[in-house]
């Protein structure tokens, strides 16, 4: 049974509710649901963390996240339909254990559901213009640069269009 791709994505400033995401993708035709939740850790690279500020280029972040979910729905669709995907990223200042990102996908089969979640998470981390500044126990704050071994890096443009 072919179902329409149904992706819903959002950049939000409220707490994320993983159970609500699971409910949002649930469907009597979808026997497999996968979820990923990213939360603030108490330690990063050995430094005690007390919280993280998430900031974004919001218009672009919303657009990129929607594009990624649509790509995943297309890429992991089968004859039984496209996975249903919901993805949310939170902005603002988060404390330890609070969720910054949640991605859920449901499909008739387990592989498309799990593959879709993984794709959205990986691409989100690669392309969506969101930045985080960690607060450390010693009172300092630092913007994280996942591309750098020290200094701010300049990775090749992800998905660059001329």
């Amino acid at each position: 049974m072919v179902r329409a791709a149904a992706a819903r994505t959002a950049i939000v400033e409220r707490p994320l509710d993983p159970a609500a995401l699971l409910a949002a993708v649930a469907d009597a035709g979808h026997g497999a649901t996968a979820l990923f939740v990213g939360t603030v850790r108490e330690v990063n690279d050995g430094r005690p963390v007390t919280g993280i500020d998430y900031t974004a280029y919001e218009a672009m972040a919303a657009r990129e996240l929607a594009a990624i979910a649509a790509e995943a729905a297309e890429r992991f669709g089968t004859a039984e339909g496209a996975p249903r995907i919901v993805a949310e990223h939170r902005l603002g200042t988060l404390g330890i254990g609070e969720a910054s990102v949640a991605v859920a996908a449901a499909h008739a089969r387990r592989a498309p559901a799990m593959d879709a979640v993984r794709y959205v998470v990986e691409e989100l981390k690669r392309r969506v213009p969101i930045w985080k500044r960690e607060h450390y126990a010693d009172g300092t704050r630092e913007w994280l640069d996942p591309t750098a071994a020290g200094a701010p890096g300049t990775a090749v443009a992800p998905g660059t269009a001329s």
Binding site: Y57, R63, I130, W131, G153
Partner: protein
């Protein structure tokens, strides 16, 4: 057709900290590319802390240095992203 264009350049996160502001209006002689805009931005105070070739988005889409800008474009300098 105007011989000049004005674009809004958005700065985020560490780039905003480096230049001490979150946006700057830049006027350039047309035709102007992303690369020309970057040359202009590099002359601003604090821009020495920017990488040599920062990622750029034009109107919320990633763009190359050769991309030709239009008057009124919203250009963003994108620090290494760190979502999730």
């Amino acid at each position: 057709m105007s011989s000049q264009i004005t674009v809004t350049t958005l700065l985020f996160a560490s780039y905003a900290d480096a230049l001490g502001r979150s946006s700057v209006q830049v006027t350039l002689r047309a035709p102007a590319t992303v690369g020309a805009l970057l040359d202009h931005v590099r002359a601003l105070p604090g821009a020495g802390r920017l990488p040599p070739a920062p990622l750029v988005a034009v109107n919320a889409t990633y763009a190359t240095p050769g991309h030709v800008l239009a008057d009124g474009d919203e250009v963003a300098l994108i620090p290494p992203v760190a979502g999730g």
